[in-house]
Symmetry: D2
Subunit: 343 residues, 4 copies
Amino acid sequence: MIIVMEPGSKDEYRQAVISEIEELGYQAHVIIGVERTVVACVGHEDKTPLQHIASMPGVEQVIPILKPFKLASRETKAESSVIDVGGVLIGGQELTVMAGPCSVESEEQVLTIARAVKAAGAKILRGGAFKPRTSPYSFQGMGEDGLKILATARDETGLKVVTEVVSLRELDLCLEYADMLQIGARNCQNYPLLREIGMSQRPVLFKRGMSTTIKEYLQAAEYMLSEGNYSVVLCERGIRTFEDATRFTLDLNAVPVIKSQTHLPLIVDPSHGTGVWRYVTPMAKAGVACGADGLMIEVHPKPKEAASDGPQALKPDTFTELMREVRKVAESVGRTLPGAPEE
Amino acid sequence: MIIVMEPGSKDEYRQAVISEIEELGYQAHVIIGVERTVVACVGHEDKTPLQHIASMPGVEQVIPILKPFKLASRETKAESSVIDVGGVLIGGQELTVMAGPCSVESEEQVLTIARAVKAAGAKILRGGAFKPRTSPYSFQGMGEDGLKILATARDETGLKVVTEVVSLRELDLCLEYADMLQIGARNCQNYPLLREIGMSQRPVLFKRGMSTTIKEYLQAAEYMLSEGNYSVVLCERGIRTFEDATRFTLDLNAVPVIKSQTHLPLIVDPSHGTGVWRYVTPMAKAGVACGADGLMIEVHPKPKEAASDGPQALKPDTFTELMREVRKVAESVGRTLPGAPEE
Amino acid sequence: MIIVMEPGSKDEYRQAVISEIEELGYQAHVIIGVERTVVACVGHEDKTPLQHIASMPGVEQVIPILKPFKLASRETKAESSVIDVGGVLIGGQELTVMAGPCSVESEEQVLTIARAVKAAGAKILRGGAFKPRTSPYSFQGMGEDGLKILATARDETGLKVVTEVVSLRELDLCLEYADMLQIGARNCQNYPLLREIGMSQRPVLFKRGMSTTIKEYLQAAEYMLSEGNYSVVLCERGIRTFEDATRFTLDLNAVPVIKSQTHLPLIVDPSHGTGVWRYVTPMAKAGVACGADGLMIEVHPKPKEAASDGPQALKPDTFTELMREVRKVAESVGRTLPGAPEE
Amino acid sequence: MIIVMEPGSKDEYRQAVISEIEELGYQAHVIIGVERTVVACVGHEDKTPLQHIASMPGVEQVIPILKPFKLASRETKAESSVIDVGGVLIGGQELTVMAGPCSVESEEQVLTIARAVKAAGAKILRGGAFKPRTSPYSFQGMGEDGLKILATARDETGLKVVTEVVSLRELDLCLEYADMLQIGARNCQNYPLLREIGMSQRPVLFKRGMSTTIKEYLQAAEYMLSEGNYSVVLCERGIRTFEDATRFTLDLNAVPVIKSQTHLPLIVDPSHGTGVWRYVTPMAKAGVACGADGLMIEVHPKPKEAASDGPQALKPDTFTELMREVRKVAESVGRTLPGAPEE
């Protein structure tokens, strides 16, 4: 931690800062520059007790040096993690695709989609039984009946199931039916939920919040790792910016940045990231090209009848075409995508 | 709802849109312009069933016309609401100030602050017993012991108590001790929590999320109103932008915008909004000048020893000075602030 | 400048960084922490030659310590500057209001407005003769004829004139007619224009860019000061964020931040900042409450006939009411506003 | 254009709106809904005279329907444009790569880079002779001497030359030496410069502003097209968001969005877009995967000695590796990249 003193600040202020640092058990190193004096603070790794120095008189700014997450960091574990979701691996050389409807609407709907996405190469079925909707008057999900339908689809197709946990209340129910728990963007910094899911040991698909910096996102992931759950798969799904041609701005820069900072796998969700079905395939290809370990794609047999997020869902045959195009890009960057080889 | 057709799109596409609208029980009005054809859709007020039209062939865009919140809207209730928190009124001619530490740390700390802020004119004591912290390794709050300390301070000073509910799990505990429940920025779109608090009938201090648009914010408030809880006080506390000179960008534009759209009262939190104690007083004055119904201010007897957010807390005497300055601004805009008159 | 080495980076990398620093004539101080080693760099104030160290092997990050602007800084000149625009002072105890139409449209229009805003207490007349419009098919301004009309209004009313210079080409013409040159938000980082205006010695109204950080903004102002023009008045006029209820997000936090960092005066433009006339008066009051030295307000006798930006312009009588309300707020914060006293 | 009336607004207000529309020569169609009445306005394509209706009494909002750009639109010209820069084509099946240093520093530097990037498959040499720098105390470019060096490099290597025009003043000089003029991000909405370059007929590389929406960006391009210059190549180079792990947020969503709205070619600049050399290659691959027509890449033989933007420049051998990797991705999406085939 580096403490920068204001120019011309009194010696007694600097002395007070040094005393404070030493009282708290750290060592202070003073460096006198031409225009600024800085005090570097060395000691045990937790610098939290020093934060208040920012409000001491004569202090201009306090600059932290250490990364604020540890277990998720590549410094702690250099090799990339591979997460096992009931036998489906995420983070290896083979890409993993999760696909399905935004909301579970009926058994027929889910089975139709499940068969189609499996045939195209997806390994995990997504579907929401509890929906966090912007308006209280919108469809809120089928609840446990929806979870049962997902389980039925798993039994029939062999796909694994991921579904969103929207609150602690539904956690046990979701644990009963799902192979992987999804934490949605709006819950990215819902720390009590993260802790609880951290204790559950179930693999997690953890979406980035729409205004969460990469640093905060990895700190939030740390909540789960610090409870002992290391099976965390990250997911870039779009951030909020001034641009309104897309619903969110899918931030693909986050892919190389996150892959360089953490050993956890990372997938990309171009359906929510763009909000427009026409842009899903190009952004899926881009995500794979810059290093994502997989994709999450919304598929609906009849997008015009979807109970939620219809405009961003792909029809099954468009999804099959997406998989064919993504497969070529995957191979061009040394990855593979399961499914029928190109004829 | 207005559906804009692509230029040169086939007549059959337009016909399909019209059929769809009519099948769903609405009426379609076609207006043929020089370059675009639009289809206006009229019928009962819920237009949700029509959303999927955005993905029909030949459709360029779908433009909603109605405001997506109803009970919170001034259209539904034109006169401003005044919320009663155990006898303290929020939303009337008199401004209401909530003040206290970020986190409850000890009985002595809380009592010292409570007495000081009461003397300066605050009516409600704030203090966190459960803290949602960015890092899992930071102090997480005193829990029920903290709530008990707040209750003790209420008994001694007569101040009402507001405290943050971070998850459903702590809701019953907070209901037992607090006069008003706070929903933090990170839970602004945590709909299950909003619903539950909506059912509780306890007054709510509801903070805007750091990337929540005003429209989404009022829709989120609607979750509580639609469960029957009308005692909702809104709170602007800073949005996330590219500017990093302040921790967030306190969005005071939201004050006149929100006051024109909803009858609910709105206060401003310049402590979290700026993150820097030096800017708290000027922004508090600005918030009152543009129409806020009150303030939430962080106060700590020794900011340098605060367990969280020290750099943004005011010392009691700086808070007293803030109240003195704000009182003058309040009077200049026809409002009053309780407390000792200026000598 | 602080150089942070990657954890576990080789000694030879650190040695290379030190050699580089010393070769360039600075001194290096090494501080070995528990998890990170940092190299502090001390020497003459210009650290530009050291920037490339960020890309040397083993370097994690490079952190600058100094503020990147000098002449504009309060460190260089602690007392606030007062700028003289033909006898009208900006930055003193008395607030200065600039008002007028977005575009000059006719002599009658300008004279009507000029008389009205003068009567209400404005000291400077604004009006655009050259308009930078988003669409090439929009009205582009009256050019020199517009400047002549502004000069006529000055002769008749005694108001000083500020007008926007949109490019080097119009600079000489604007110098001939205007008392103060305005640099618009889109030219905030148009450095060749800033240099040239810096050489002109004419007082400048310098608007913040819509995505310019405060640090960059003050660096841009430095371009003019470094050419010898110290008569620079800053202007906050809204930044671009995700919120779309207002055209821009007027960033009032910038007022106390900028006032603490620079001695230059700062005014606020709530007309462009919000884009909606209903919000102009509340935000004008807020701007004055948090410390602005004045206001820029758009006024049009018939906003519905305005050639540009009609929806944000005030009618003359609404402007008079704004001045009356702002005057009270000004007095509550120890400032004055010229014009008729409240009866 | 759709005018939405406030709920419960008086009939006379609606009548006034209709009269206004008809007086201006358009036709008004009234549609009475359950909660809102809207007035649709039909007539000739320019709706500018109607904008002020937004501030008429009883009007809630005015919604434009038409795209605000015309010549750049795919509605006007459906097939993609291919721009010819002295024989190098941009926008066809073959990708075009522009590479070179941020600033021209010496003949030796430029020649070394030019030979290297040509060998790797680049067709156009980039290099700045006039540099718009954030600080007035930073290196500002070599001026005409720099342009001469670029011309020498063209003569020797056959590469075409693109260089930035920072103001009208340097335009003639740049026209004398460069095959293609670059308009930098800070000048994206510098309309006088755009008009002048529009008159010049020289091919243009036109960078998106860091806070310019896609709609505004295409409107700005329209300034050049409307002056008769159709040889405009667009360039996504990063927008400003809250995320600070990268210098800007390269917005690749803009690639499919822009390609669907305009016939103009679009390239991607991952060097400025990320600001970090480690992320340049992955983002270059992503840009090509989602449909960009080429790349602009900063290359410097000794990034640690670069006079500007060193941390984002690639060394020649890293650039060669980038080209090899991008070539594979290009082929996977049906494009080609010139240069030595993979052995």
